[in-house]
Amino acid sequence: MIRFRNPGTQYSTQIQVIKQLYEALSGQENFTLDDMAVVIAQGRLMTAYGYAGDDALRLSNTEQESMNSAKMNAKMYAEVFRMLGWVTPYSESSSYPLVFTYIGAHIALSTGDCSRLYEQCVLGINNPTQLTDNMSYNEKLRFFQCALRTFIDLDGIMYKHELCLGPMSVDDEDEKAYQNMIAFIRSIRGSQKRLNKAFLDLAVSLRMKPTPVDNCTRLPIAFMKSCGWVESINDSSLYGKSMACLKITQHGIETYDAIKVMYDLRLDKYLKLEKNVQQALIRLGTYSMLERSGYDMSSVDEIIRADKVICEGILQGKELLFSPCQTLRRKQVEEALGIQMDVGTESRLSIGTFESAVAVREALANTDIWDLNISHEVSIELLGRDEEQEFLKTVNKLYSDGYSSGEIVNELFDYYIDATQITFYPLIATLFKIMGFNCSFSRPGDNGARWDAIIDDPIRSIPIEIKSPTEEQFLSIKAIRQALENKIILLSRKTHVTTPEVTTLAVGYYMPNERAEVNRLIADFKATYGYSIGVIDLKSLLSISVSILTDKKTFDKEKLYSLEGLANANI
């Protein structure tokens, strides 16, 4: 199966990026991923950790290359652009550095809507090529032509996994193989079990997990949507239940009708031809792509006419479908077109010149560690509700069974992984009560109450935003925003007494995944509005509560009122 390994990027973004790259780098003899990363970041076409431009480069700059988001972003574009024939390796011996191709230059310098040339480039994607030596697949096909044909032959609608089972896994010049593929897909339709089994079998045969196989459909679907060949629909006719499918558009049908009558030249046939014929085909292939894309080719009319005469025996009056920049090494293409794409300076941009700010980024992720070193008796009088008594019993039972504090915490933590709001809100309120705070929770779904729980204090009340693990396991930026809103609402509506300096809390099952970004936002909120937002996870709350109940130890309660950022209990 053909592996399209990149995410599906937007057409408009691809165009923006290639234009920016060409403007900055076409004066160089060739360019590297570093060059690309610098241009993309400085052109404000990527952000890292909330920053753009040079700051984004500094924050991405790590010693571990695969963790350098600016460089990985550049690599993703390099691979997509190489597939589209806009950039190509400078030398025959290695994949990098790169140069722009003749078609790439036309895309980059387009003053209008280059969607038609983009479409030609998507149609130009074919395998094998001289640029795809060590691939893990060996299908011979012009994928998008084959995909359009498959859509038409399968009544216009396909589910994405059928792309993997069908046109991504067939030699399209082998008519019998193609018809077998169509018959196979028809045979699995009607039963989702059959589809799932066929898809799993395919993944096993490829020695891949199902998710990466599924991911291989993202880029081709994005290409087909960008070209307006397919659109998303919900369909239940294929497998008996509604599924997000793809439907070929009228433009997709017309595109296939136009190309099916063309002479489709592939690498193996090309290589068997005389050099003068090869060169004529390179010119005809390139010029016909431009002509179909709406370029005025009248200045090369005579060359086209002469080349058609040279290739008459091959083309037999048909139009040529051949994309040299996507199929051949650049020297042959440039020689035939009489151009040289690697003229320029040897200058280089380097990510290395941007002093790494990774330490700054990591510093943003600092967590406040609370040591549990203060003796404290649990405020049992606060724990009157049935659920609260039940919780105390559970802890006491585990403790008397010989569990250590840490083991009790882990046991309870695992138990609540599937908790919904109905059990999670009261649990959080119970834990704060054990810690000695007068905490009450709101009924889930009560839109009148803005916060999920509140610590009711005579002068320093604290609103609490709670995310149960069934809503989101890791606290998100959304919870932080809601914590800010809770603070503003409390200060405005004055339902409980508080002051601006007192914290507002977000509580969840796990700490946020993107700690640096959450900490940054908390710092932004503090700098702009002056409010402190504290973040606590379930494990920390359990650790404190269980310590109080079993070890009679707790933390400095005053810390909670002024908490800003992430808190972690040191059990």
């Binding site: 280059c114 809103e485 503003i488 405005s492």
Partner: protein, 347 residues
Amino acid sequence: MQIFKETVNRKNLSVLNEMPIAIVYKPGAPATHHFNDEIECKSTCLNCVNPRCMYFDESDIECSEVKNFTNDRRLSVCPVDAITWNADKDSPIFDTNKCICCGICMRRCPVGAIYYDEEVKVCTTPSDNTTRVKASTYSIQFQKEQLETLINKPRGGVLIKESDELFDKIYAKLLSIKNIYHNPIGRNLLISLGCKSAMRRIGDVYTRMDAVYSASDNSFGAVEIEFGRDTLDAARGILDDIAVLHTRYGIDKNDNQALVVCLQLPNARQGYWQVIKDVKTVENIHISTITIGAMMILNWNGCLLIPDDVTYYIDYDNMSLRPAIEWQLDGKVNLSDKTLGILEPMK
């Protein structure tokens, strides 16, 4: 290296024989050009070499207040990709299935040749005041200079007259339109209403706000664009945007005329209204709210959008946009009370 020219660079184009002194729009027909001797003439497409009905200028999509903003560079005027160029006729064509009648292309057409008559159309019938000429360096430059003069000529009249029936048709499309079009619709309407506006790139999860704008009076603000029912999320988003712009771009929170652009005003019982009021009470930040429909009405009437602390500020105590829009139009809006939540909440 020979770079070929795209044939979008015309073989032919049209130029005006005489420069009008004013252009007057009229619903249902191309605009009329007025001359000193009181003669009128209908407008027709000039087959512009750089069609303003299709592309914004680069400067329209940048806000100088936030230089490092990673904005989407799409220049397409049509937010829903309904306009393509007909190379045979040298004029724009409109996909009526996609078109949402926002009127942005109509307002940008330098001559007023694009109009709405049950659907958006362009007049290509030659007029007495135009001459078709071969495209040449001279004629292209001549047309460019004519257009630069023309776009500064006074304009009056109304592009499209609002009505309940028309908005029923438009909102039927907008309510089911794909997410990818939400931000472009908001941004492009802002530009058409005289703002510069930069919107976040699709897929950029780090840039918080949907867009930023700077209005013709240099006021600046963050924009949240919300087509769904969760406008409360837009209010939260705005607080986030103001903080990010404050700390990362140095925009003081009180200089940020933040704007929520929503498809429909939230229902009266929704938390949004009270939260907007809370933010004003506690932070003295006035978050303006406007609907896509209200922006379209302003656009059809040639108005500008200049958010301030008062004009589009609506909250729990006053949820109606109607007074602000009627003040700008200097007349009544022909839209029934609560229609589609465009000027008042539906419930």
